[in-house]
Assembly symmetry: C2
Homo-oligomer: 230 residues x 2
């Protein structure tokens, strides 16, 4: 096997929670490409390619190294043009970039407040130290204060999901009739929450919950088979 994805992991090496790694895994599966994941703690990232790579995912595609989930998706689209498309023609890349930016701006902040301390608790000792220092510096708060009760943050998350919910009133997938990378972007972000929280704190009658369940089923249940925190 010569296609490897470096995939962020917790102390339990089977706990894979990175939103960006989930986007990349779904993109690989969408293209029908076999790959193995390399469980990688935060402090293992520097070892992948010293002085170059600072974040996962990193894809090693038969010797071609690609980092950043978006760049990985674009690479796969160009390298495997005969497989199912990830983007709607050329213009679809701009639409996916907007989805990536909007997801980061609106979904990541409430989710971070739901799980930042719980992420910490899932890491190995060395990663815990690194994670606490870097995140507390970024957030300006101890992790114990930065994380809030999920029920308290839920209304904000529900509100941030409104554009997805609205789009799903008109289309079965965010990409239209078939799933695409614009689905995997917010799906990856919600997997981050679901894996760490042990489930998705969203009303099961919400159209977003239905779509999330259908994403879990995609590609032979790739994501449904993931380890979720107890």
């Amino acid at each position: 096997m010569t296609r490897r994805l470096f995939d962020l992991c917790g102390r339990d090496r089977n706990l894979r929670f990175s939103p960006y790694c989930w986007r990349a895994k779904m993109a690989l599966a969408h293209k029908g490409l076999e790959f193995e994941t390399v469980p990688t703690p935060f402090l293992g990232v520097a070892a992948i390619e010293p002085d170059v790579v600072r974040t996962v995912p990193v894809l090693d595609d038969h010797g071609i190294r690609v980092r950043d989930s978006f760049d990985i998706a674009v690479h796969l689209e160009h390298a495997y043009p005969d497989r199912a498309p990830l983007f709607a023609a050329a213009d679809g890349i701009a639409a996916a970039r907007f989805m990536e930016s909007a997801t980061f701006a609106t979904l990541h902040p409430p989710i971070m407040r739901m799980i930042v301390k719980d992420i910490h608790d899932q890491l190995d000792d060395a990663d815990q130290e690194y994670f606490r220092e870097s995140r507390e510096s970024r957030l300006g708060l101890p992790l114990e204060e930065a994380q809030q009760d999920v029920g308290l943050v839920s209304p904000e998350l529900d509100k941030a999901l409104a554009p997805l919910r609205r789009t799903l009133e008109f289309h079965p997938w965010l990409a239209g009739d078939e799933p695409g990378f614009v689905d995997y972007i917010p799906f990856g972000t919600l997997m981050w929450l679901a894996v760490i929280h042990g489930g998705l704190p969203i009303d099961p009658d919400d159209a977003v919950a239905d779509w999330f369940g259908r994403c879990l089923d995609l590609h032979n249940g790739l994501a449904r088979g993931a380890r979720f925190a107890a």
Copy 2:
């Protein structure tokens, strides 16, 4: 001329500020279609098609009535398939729906707080009464309290523009290499602000300001030629 767009107007019938009407006008111009606008105050909307139409824009395309800016764009795409495409293939409609929903969720609230009283002041007497009653009921505040200083709301607007700004780092237009309806959606919303405020309160060095200026130039400067409040 048998193609008419009912276009929201102020007391000055040349002041056209509706974000949705701007989206429709840009879509018509994008298709290279001639049209005349019918200046329509809020209270004139009911007269267009009693008991049916409650909002503008309404397009009368040779007798075919279409309301809602998004439905107008889809109608134009289907009715004039040989003209420049508004959407990137079929999947582009889902992407545009997400842009519409995200724009409504993130840009409309801060802009409303910047201009809601100023909109009122631009309406004729009958519209002022209708507008005050309906908006104060929706906002739960007198218009005078709902509107805040533009400088106070600017940081929130700047933050809400982050996904557009980020997308424009990678593509000249939100639709990719050429403008499309996903550009006209937030452009229409910013025209709403610019027409009422008399300009766009955004740093001219901001990539969003540059893109906005290029939108103003599109289609022979259709929007640049608009009346802006003094």
